[in-house]
Subunit: 437 residues, 2 copies
């Protein structure tokens, strides 16, 4: 069985823990199994591995998330990289072409498509597995998961089933309604559309070729920007006659705001935090190296990262977006495929960064036009290449790289490096990649 | 006229802005005159210079504060350094001996002694000046300032005057009372003892020699640890027959807790702070480089520095001390006589620091036994001396100092340096000072 996880959104609603390069699904704040907190992506992937043994997982996502996915899941998942953002129908079509042309998946194999960020129990993935089996058994061309609603929500689309059986035909699809309409849907036994679909790979490929003119994966990838932006719901689901819905009644949460996110946290606090005895219903996440002391805080959510500090009443926390939009955004922390970087100091003509390289990983071979750089190895061992000359490095070694010098470093053990960037015009754009010969 | 400012206390009540090396009087948070916020020390010194022209100011303080005083006031004030902490009578005796033996002040000159940290208007220093004049005019041997109480406080000692004249004899001195007793004192026309005294220098010297066996300043300094710890009130004031009290009715605040300190702040916020429209009666000081966003905060005080972050209900903020006592205290930021240092990164076997050296200043010549250090000059120009060899340095230069290497740096223009410390046993104690030959 193939499982395709759709991973989108840069997401500012969970600032300062989410930013342009770290979407909410990569924040490590949920209760993990080995004592370490895990992210939504790590949690969902672990749950799939535990519930659907033998499933092959492919993550369909944009370029910016590739580093974070590799950092958190390693090389065990397939990643289908979208060259741009074109809504879910092009993304799923590209993923289908990827499965066929890159991974060689048979057209008869069932595929389940899910969002990457639901907060759910194992039961949900048992349902995902069942949905894939229903597709394999040819119960219908397209199978949907319908969530039993717990309240008349205005946030979701609705599926009106033909009957109340576990697997049922579909009478109608409905857009996000207003409150009164939602109440009427509920009285008709409607289900939320949770964005989970199953079908055979061949079905996806046929729908893609019907609506997009392309020869195969590479062709679609190369011409992705000219493909029409449209959702899979509009392009496929709502037009399909051979469609059935499978009922799911377990827990299913969207952790889209601090208020809901805080509820799923592993305990009241994460990181160096002290709450005095007069604090009530307050959650604190501290990714900084310095302690936070809270006294008399009530119904608050507090989050601190290298990007900034949020101190908010829980009710107010859902109104964060316009404030974050206005903030100057310098990414202060990012997880990369090779490790992570943290901005430590920003001065007028210099920038100090801590680089952590995972064992066996290295940077791209690159140079800068407008800045000099100095590395001081803080711990670990590895190899540095400067203008094609390789040398071994260890803690205490200093490497000076004037502007123009081609450089990279590879870690044999975990390498921590203090990098000082010097120049009048320090930007992330000033980076020229080179081939290592 | 000589003015002696007593500057004591390390003070944890204003954590995280105050720490072992930065007492509350050095926090730059009050409204200054040139648009830049100023500290209590800077404010008091400026007010004295404006109100008592020609006054010579001496600050009596401990070793730990000398750097911060020089950083904030420059070399214009005299500093009488106490070799240890022995309460106010030994401190004032040492300051008297310092005035006579080091500064050569005449025994007939009046001296006013005040705490360094009252939050007051200019009117207070007009009263200080008047108190000194009353001492010069021999109105009495000892003159006190009596603050007209605004409520029956249990925090202050009381002076019961003989009458309600501007200058009056003293009927009695009273310890800090309970509430009922304080109310009775107020009905008797009592005044708060504000810890401000005036007399001639000769009077102080006589009292010192009467109770302490010493020959002069150097002798007292050398044997300071064997002097009995006792307050000036107990040892001198309460025994004095020739004493009069001068009434002061202006504003006089003790900014000892976050609640009172916040009221004196220059505006609601300092530093990178956004308060949304639902915040009420909330003060935020942010010394960090990252933004703070507050939403729906009511009656709160928030303070962030390199040492930590306090998020507190205003009422709760006075109960901070036991929590700070329990916190592991690594000083993350300190102002020194030569500039400042900021800890940027703490790793297991390394530490990264930003050093800012003021023009014309340098570090002590020193070495470390157990750690290597690497400097990367971020901006500015100066001279480095390594094992007696001097060289010029500028932005981009890198200096490696293995353990044992004697080193220092002098700034010609303001110098910013990134320092990486490397070793298994990095401590502030590992510092051997050397003479520069």
């Amino acid at each position: 069985m193939q499982i395709v996880l759709l991973s989108g959104g840069s997401g500012k609603r969970l600032w300062p823990l989410s930013n342009d390069v770290r979407s909410k699904q990569f924040i490590r704040m949920l209760k993990g199994t080995n004592g370490e907190p895990e992210s939504m992506v790590m949690r969902v992937y672990r749950q799939i591995m535990e519930t659907v043994p033998g499933a092959a997982v492919t993550i369909a996502t944009g370029k910016k998330q590739v580093s974070a996915i590799k950092n958190q899941l390693g090389d065990t998942v397939n990643i289908c990289v979208e060259p741009g953002r074109r809504d879910t129908f092009p993304a799923i079509s590209l993923a289908a072409a990827y499965l066929k042309d890159v991974l060689g998946v048979d057209a008869e194999e069932p595929v389940v498509i899910c969002p990457v960020d639901p907060y759910v129990e194992q039961q949900y993935f048992h349902a995902v597995k069942r949905l894939g089996e229903l597709a394999a058994e040819e119960t219908a061309d397209l199978l949907l998961m319908g969530m039993e609603p717990t309240y008349p929500s205005e946030k979701y689309g609705y599926i009106i089933p033909e009957d109340s059986e576990a697997v049922s035909g579909v009478r109608a699809f409905q857009e996000k309604p207003d409150l009164e309409t939602a109440k009427r849907y509920l009285s008709q036994g409607a289900l939320w559309n949770g964005g989970v679909f199953a079908c055979k790979l061949g079905y996806l490929l046929k729908k893609a070729h019907d609506q997009i003119d392309f020869t195969g994966y590479q062709d679609l990838y190369d011409n992705y920007s000219s493909v029409k932006s449209i959702s899979f719901d509009y392009a496929v689901v709502e037009k399909e006659k051979s469609v059935r819905v499978f009922r799911y009644s377990g827990e299913w949460k969207d952790l889209g705001t601090w208020n809901t996110f805080a509820e799923a946290m592993d305990g009241e606090t994460l990181g160096k935090v002290t709450l005095n005895e007069t604090c009530e219903n307050t959650n604190v996440v501290n990714e900084l190296n310095i302690p936070i002391l809270c006294m008399g805080c009530k119904n608050m959510v507090i989050a601190a990262s290298g990007d900034g500090i949020l101190i908010s009443d829980k009710g107010q926390s859902s109104y964060i977006k316009p404030f974050v939009d206005r903030m100057e955004q310098q990414v202060m922390y990012a997880e990369k495929s090779w490790g992570s970087f943290t901005v430590l100091d920003v001065q007028e003509e210099s920038l100090v960064i801590r680089i952590v390289l995972l064992p066996g990983h290295g940077l791209h071979y690159h140079s800068h036009e407008h800045r000099d750089e100095v590395w001081t190895v803080m711990s670990g061992e590895g190899r540095v290449i400067l203008d094609e000359v390789e040398r071994r490095v260890k803690a205490g070694d200093v490497i000076s790289m004037p502007a123009g010098c081609r450089h990279t470093v590879f870690a044999d053990t975990e390498l921590k490096i203090n990098e000082v960037q010097l120049g009048r015009d320090i930007t992330v754009e000033d980076k020229i990649k080179h081939e290592l010969t």
